[in-house]
């Protein structure tokens, strides 16, 4: 009969989550000299600020969590040099971000985007039930369609831009760009389309998954008009990139240059190759995400439309299973719902954000939308989250 790792498993979810947080905190303090938030400022300080016009936000989510073992623990630090050495010293870091919802990438991202735990089938081609941050942003602030965009890795995210909610919905959401789909379309103009089907490998949770598209994603014909980027130039540039995440960041930077949207949401996904069980490829994905986050932040600082008025929020959508959870298979999946798979982190960078600070108290991933609401000045009325006072 199976023997449990009783000494390690007896703790409650909360105990384990706090231990995870503690590990991150201690490691970061040792490596970066970061200080605890409570000693620097109280939660109310920034709440009183009036949201100035011209603010922008870039949100980067990792679809496919990266565990502490491969990131913030000593053995993992070699995989995240940019986060550790370049970004965290400039950031307020939340060491305990809990996702209490369904741990599937589309439904979890939808929950983060709506600020409410969505309950639909992760593999269904459906819109979120609750209004998205893009709809709140555009409706409340009367922003045009070109001011909010999503760059997402896979077809499954085609409907992430706007909800099925009656009071919001069609026409009020964000534009969605699915770079891999655009690339496949661009390449297929001059070659056998089936030759590039592998590029649409869509979802590492279900290797052959490819849902129907029915969102407001832009298609190839619109790309030249919207992004000022010809199909040939796009395909040519993509030929020099190593992965879909690099393609996504390339598109994001192009969007910033051409349209300078105030709210840009980028979902990286290479890490999720962990589902194939290949540890080395999973670590490669982490290293790539680490580098791409730093590149994106540098792009923000180098772009006059964004510099000194943009907050960047980086967070995995959730974690992955721990090695000691007998119901899982370690890094490969996020199926157990254990504390490690539910507990992740977030870093926030920006002109009004305290630098080199660690926040230990638990927050939830659904708190991001209300936090963005405070930042921009819109009311996320149906979100179940709360503004994160330290960065709201």
């Amino acid at each position: 009969m199976v023997k449990r790792f009783s000494d390690l498993n007896r703790g409650t979810q909360r105990d384990v989550a706090q231990a995870i947080s503690g590990n991150r905190r201690e490691f970061l303090r040792l490596t970066t000299g970061a200080a605890a938030a409570a000693s620097l400022f109280g939660p109310a300080t920034l709440n009183a600020m009036v949201a100035p016009k011209g603010r922008k936000a870039v949100v980067v989510t990792f679809g496919g969590g990266a565990r502490d073992d491969e990131t913030f623990m000593p053995d993992g630090q070699e995989n995240i040099p940019h986060l550790l050495d370049e970004l965290i010293p400039q950031a307020t870091f939340f060491s305990q971000v809990v996702n209490k919802g369904i741990l599937g990438h589309y439904v979890a991202t939808a929950s983060i985007v709506t600020g409410a735990y969505e309950n639909f089938n992760n593999f269904a081609a459906v819109s979120p039930n609750n209004p998205t941050v893009f709809e709140y942003f555009r409706k409340d602030l009367k922003r045009p369609a070109t001011d909010s965009w999503v760059v997402a890795p896979s077809n499954g995210f085609a409907r992430i831009g706007e909800s099925a909610h009656k009071a919001f919905g069609p026409g009020l959401g964000a534009g969605v760009i699915l770079p891999k789909r655009l690339l496949t379309a661009a390449l297929s103009r001059t070659a056998d389309g089936s030759r590039y089907e592998h590029l649409l490998r869509d979802n590492y949770e279900t290797p052959l998954y490819a849902p129907s598209l029915a969102g407001r994603q832009i298609e190839l014909g619109q790309m030249a008009e919207v992004l000022k980027l010809s199909a040939d130039d796009f395909a040519s540039h993509a030929g020099g990139l190593a992965s879909p995440d690099e393609l996504s960041v390339y598109i994001a930077r192009h969007l910033m240059k051409q349209l300078a949207p105030s709210l840009l949401w980028v979902t990286l996904h290479d890490i999720d190759i962990a589902h194939s069980g290949t540890f080395s490829l999973y670590v490669d994905g982490i290293r790539r995400a680490d580098r791409l986050c730093a590149e994106l932040w540098r792009s923000i600082q180098a772009n006059p439309e964004y510099a000194n008025k943009t907050n960047m929020y980086i967070l995995p959508d959730f974690g992955r299973d721990s090695d000691i959870e007998p119901g899982g298979n370690g890094f490969q999946h996020h199926r157990t719902g254990d504390a490690m798979s539910r507990t992740t982190w977030m870093m926030v960078l920006g002109p009004d954000v305290k630098q080199n600070v660690i926040i230990d108290r638990p927050v939830e991933s659904i708190d991001l939308v209300p936090t963005l609401g405070s930042f921009f000045g819109f009311n996320p009325a149906l979100s179940a989250g709360k503004p994160i006072a330290e960065v709201a």
Partner: protein, 401 residues
């Protein structure tokens, strides 16, 4: 249908031994809640094709449930009875297809935020059953051996980083006859402790020859089955209506003979190998994943006394720009990446071995194949120690016995 309504006729389609077991314990099954009975039936319906240790575990569960008076039984399964289930679940044909029910139940529990409660209840239940009817002593201690890094000439990755604190790290191992030393050890153990499915050899490439008493699984040996399975997967994928959940269900329903396995040869082994390909993720594509998952499942299900696991290079994952440049290029191997995969696989294999009864006496050896690095874990090996003394692989292996 509710468990209370089960009759002997309900199991008419079950294989012979499973049917006999179910009807013999019908009274107990009648007293279980819907949130529990199908989970037990999921194990029971495949009883005929299970390894001896799995059969023992299922019978232990039944003995445990039947040892409880009605009040205590109700208390033991109360957390499962308290689950809020849907009408759709109740209407599922959970007697004939308990695995389908289990998949749907899992999705329902996630959607309704009951998965954490279920998980806690399941762990608690299994713990109590094990305490009530503990494992009997095994004839000898368990030995696990993992060989990693086949085909790697030079390495800069810090190997055994997770295993080193658990045992002694050897830096001057003389390989000698190499893998032949290890297969000989398994053969010796199989001869000394003859028991069905108690001694295993899993290889990520073409396997070495071993005596028939050793249960053997290999990546190369399953090449025809993998090809046949991929063909079937493609057909399901190309169906007009695509449903990922149904995809998994259909994969799980594939029978060994449908992908060229002769079920008459060794039905337990055939179905085990089939499950590696249909229930594992990435096992159809990457040899390293296949070996790690096979080792995990063999330990979990067969609970072997001896297991030799040998990783081999997997195919290289090609970056996007290469794929764009030439879509049909022949696949290549990635020995260095495979070494990193296998290093993690060795750690997981040890963890899974430690979940079994008798973990305190178990021995484990991980060796960088053809090289001088190894780590040994067990009662005789000091934790966190580094040994630079030259040692023959054969002697190191013999010290596990």
């Amino acid at each position: 249908m509710l468990p209370l309504e089960l009759t002997a006729q309900s199991f008419a389609t079950y294989p012979a031994e499973a049917r006999q077991l179910a009807t013999a314990h019908l009274d107990t099954l009648n007293r279980l809640p819907l949130g529990f009975a199908p989970l037990l039936l999921k194990e029971l319906i495949v009883f005929d094709f299970r390894f001896p240790m799995e059969r023992r575990d299922l019978q232990r569960q039944i003995r445990y449930l039947e040892s409880l008076d009605p009040e205590k039984l109700a208390a033991a399964v109360a957390p499962f009875a308290q689950l809020r289930l849907s009408r759709e679940l109740e209407q599922t044909d959970w007697v004939a297809k308990p695995a389908v029910f289990t998949e749907q139940l899992t999705a329902h529990l996630w959607t309704t935020h009951q998965i954490d409660a279920f998980r806690a209840a399941a762990v608690d239940y299994m713990d109590k059953a094990t305490v009530a009817f503990p494992d009997e002593p095994r004839p000898t201690h368990r030995i696990g051996i993992v060989a990693i890094g086949q085909g790697v000439k030079e390495n800069s990755y810090r190997l055994f980083r997770k295993l080193r604190p658990q045992g002694t790290y050897f830096t001057s191992v003389r390989p000698g006859e190499g893998v032949a030393v290890l297969t000989a050890l398994v053969a010796k153990r199989a001869a000394k402790h003859p028991e069905s499915y108690a001694h295993w050899y899993i290889d990520g490439g073409a396997p070495a020859a071993v005596p028939p008493a050793i249960a053997k699984v290999s990546w190369a040996g399953l090449t025809p089955a993998r090809a046949a399975l991929q063909g079937r997967m493609q057909k399901i994928y190309e169906a007009p209506v695509w449903d990922p959940e149904a995809f998994r269900t259909k994969l799980a329903q594939i029978q060994p003979e449908e992908i060229g396995m002769k079920d008459g040869d060794d039905s337990a082994m055939n179905r085990f190998q089939l499950s590696l390909l249909t229930e594992g993720s990435g096992t159809q594509i990457f040899a390293t994943t296949f070996v790690q998952w096979a080792a995990r499942e063999a330990l979990r299900r067969a609970q072997p006394l001896t297991m030799l696991t040998r990783f081999a290079p997997r195919q290289r994952e090609r970056p996007m720009n290469e794929l764009l440049a030439e879509a049909q290029k022949k696949s290549e191997f990635d020995p260095e990446g495979s070494l990193v995969d296998a290093d993690m696989g060795a750690w997981y294999t040890w963890l899974n071995q430690q979940r079994l009864h008798g973990a305190e006496q178990s021995n484990f050896l991980a060796w960088f194949e053809g090289h001088s690095e190894a780590v040994a874990v067990g009662p005789a090996f000091a934790r966190g120690k580094v040994s630079e003394e030259p040692v023959n692989l054969a002697d190191l292996a013999a010290s596990l016995l």
